[in-house]
Symmetry: C2
Subunit: 342 residues, 2 copies
């Protein structure tokens, strides 16, 4: 999404789902002014965050969109038949499409010619840039302070925490920059690399390029969006490659209050917070030690008092500052991070 581009969010069937609707939620939160409508035929006529929900592409046209963004993750990261109908309709109506799934629209033998004929763009947010390679060690020469969000699981709020901390830091006048590493972060910030989509050998190399680029863009304080979790049975490789390649000075550990098991992976427990803190510090490269400076708790769905108790308990367990930056603002976490930086 270029700045100011009028956007229709495609969220068929999942606009109310916090997990599958992650991209929609992020775009609604951080690019609200550019969103004109949401497409989800299961909620036609409702509104979400003040944005009208429409039942089909035709219905969305009344709001004058220029681009449609795929706002939900489909099962397996690929487009089922009903989705292809929606995509074809967007192209036919002259909308460019922004897509963050692993399936690349610009390579699609049916959609690509249609888009070319209609003169619209197919932007694949997860497509790796040309010329990626293994990490070289140049990341250690980046003259910025680097903060990475890590977590107990996927989809607990790492991107949001990084964005909130970046915003708070900029409000204090710091030369602060959010570094996007996933499709939603890229849609929001307009640059970045989806590190989970690169050739596996190049994860750390991509992370290295991102911190170099973040410094080049003027970030003296870089908030690197974390991915996955070191204890996730499917995504831990991306997590560790991003960790080692982005060479953070400080970590912020994110956790959904009350979660004890990896979502979607029954039988895979989430270790206690104290263990997670130690594990993450232990996995830092000796050449760039990193401490967890604070805990960011996601207390969405809890009452005010319950949330306060959960945050206090997490702080007690770990001896670290803790807060829910969405509920309370990011200032306390920012203080803790700044105090922890070398």
């Amino acid at each position: 999404m270029a700045a100011g581009e009028r956007t229709l969010i495609l969220a068929e069937g999942f606009s109310a789902d916090p997990h599958y609707g992650k991209t929609m939620r992020g775009v609604l939160r951080y690019r609200r002014d550019d969103v004109v409508a949401i497409l989800d035929s299961t909620r036609t006529g409702e509104s979400d965050a003040g944005v009208p929900v429409v039942g089909d592409v035709e219905g969305g046209l009344a709001y004058g969109p220029e681009v449609a963004i795929v706002g939900v993750a489909t099962q397996g990261g690929r487009f089922p038949p009903e989705w292809r109908d929606i995509l074809r309709a967007c192209i036919a109506k002259g909308l460019s499409i922004e897509n963050g799934l692993h399936e690349m629209l610009a390579d699609d033998s049916e959609l690509r010619p249609l888009a070319d004929a209609a003169g619209v763009e197919l932007r694949d947010l997860r497509r790796p840039p040309e010329g990626l390679d293994c990490a070289t060690g140049a990341n250690l020469d980046v003259d910025s302070r680097i903060v990475l969000t890590v977590a107990s699981d996927c989809a607990v709020g790492k991107m949001t925490v990084s964005l909130e901390l970046d915003r708070a830091a900029r409000e204090r006048g710091l030369e602060s920059l959010f570094v996007p590493t996933g499709q939603t972060g890229i849609a929001i910030a307009g640059w970045g690399i989806a590190v989970d989509a690169v050739v596996a050998d190049f994860i750390s190399g991509a992370a290295e390029q991102l911190v170099i680029e973040g410094h080049r863009r003027g970030g003296e304080l870089l908030w690197v969006e974390g991915q996955g979790s070191l204890v996730h049975p499917a995504y831990s490789g991306v997590t560790l490659g991003l960790y080692h390649g982005s060479v953070p000075h400080v970590l912020v550990l994110c956790h959904r209050a009350g979660s004890t098991e990896i979502e979607g992976s029954p039988g895979h427990p989430i270790p206690p917070l104290r263990e997670l803190v130690e594990l993450h510090e232990r996995m830092a490269l000796p050449r760039r030690p990193a401490r967890v400076a604070a805990l960011a708790l996601n207390t969405a769905g809890l009452g005010e008092r319950e949330a306060r108790e959960v945050v206090a308990a997490a702080s007690d367990e770990t001896g670290l500052p803790a807060a829910d930056p969405v509920r309370e603002g990011a200032d306390a976490l920012l203080d803790a991070v700044l105090a922890g930086l070398p």
Copy 2:
């Protein structure tokens, strides 16, 4: 390399280099009978492991090769101009080419048409299979015992240790199988997936498919070839994804005797063996705990007595059985692994 296929190893400039010549060394050790010549113009007329070294493709033809295998890693994993001359000459002389670099020959706009015209194959060992996806948890249902080699660094002998242990196990009549996860292992065994070349999100999914396939091929005892190292600044992501995706019951920790720094990464220390053992056990998924059953020391280059001392010291430090399986045979390590299996 299909079984029995007469093979010319392309090793220009690096046939004597243990690091860059890893593929050549592996093929020479485990597919010796199929190798007819080695191409390296810097050593023309010499022989290596009893195989004649020739200066160009023309010179190799006298030995009747059917296929040429890229036996060395080039700088950056891509083909410099002098290498393209060699590849063109192979194609012109009717040789198929087997290639394990990240650069895919079958996608090359110059070489592909030449190969098609000459009727030869361009086999890219690192090309990921179609249909890879994230790990699903089906790995935990595989009814085999799974042993993964892990290590302090790249290129210390993980593949060799897995192959030697597999051979020793088969000699004892066990239904044992080597599971290849890298280009050299694939060249040797004729199947497998190069897990460092898949989409980063699919590392664990590829590892999961490999242990499922290993079981399907009759392996009751699977020796999964490890990759990289958890403490390597560039490759740790692949290492952890492979670890979690292959769900090993037991680990064998490989180490080059005397190494204290990651090769090619100055300033990145290798932690002491005792710490490495603990770190690897710590990083197992709670759902599939894994213990290090033994240490495999690479003592190449040491004298007999020095090697014995190094092995004894490693065992003392960690309290674990230790051996150099290439020097002493793999029986002691195999005993330790079998004793450690659940």
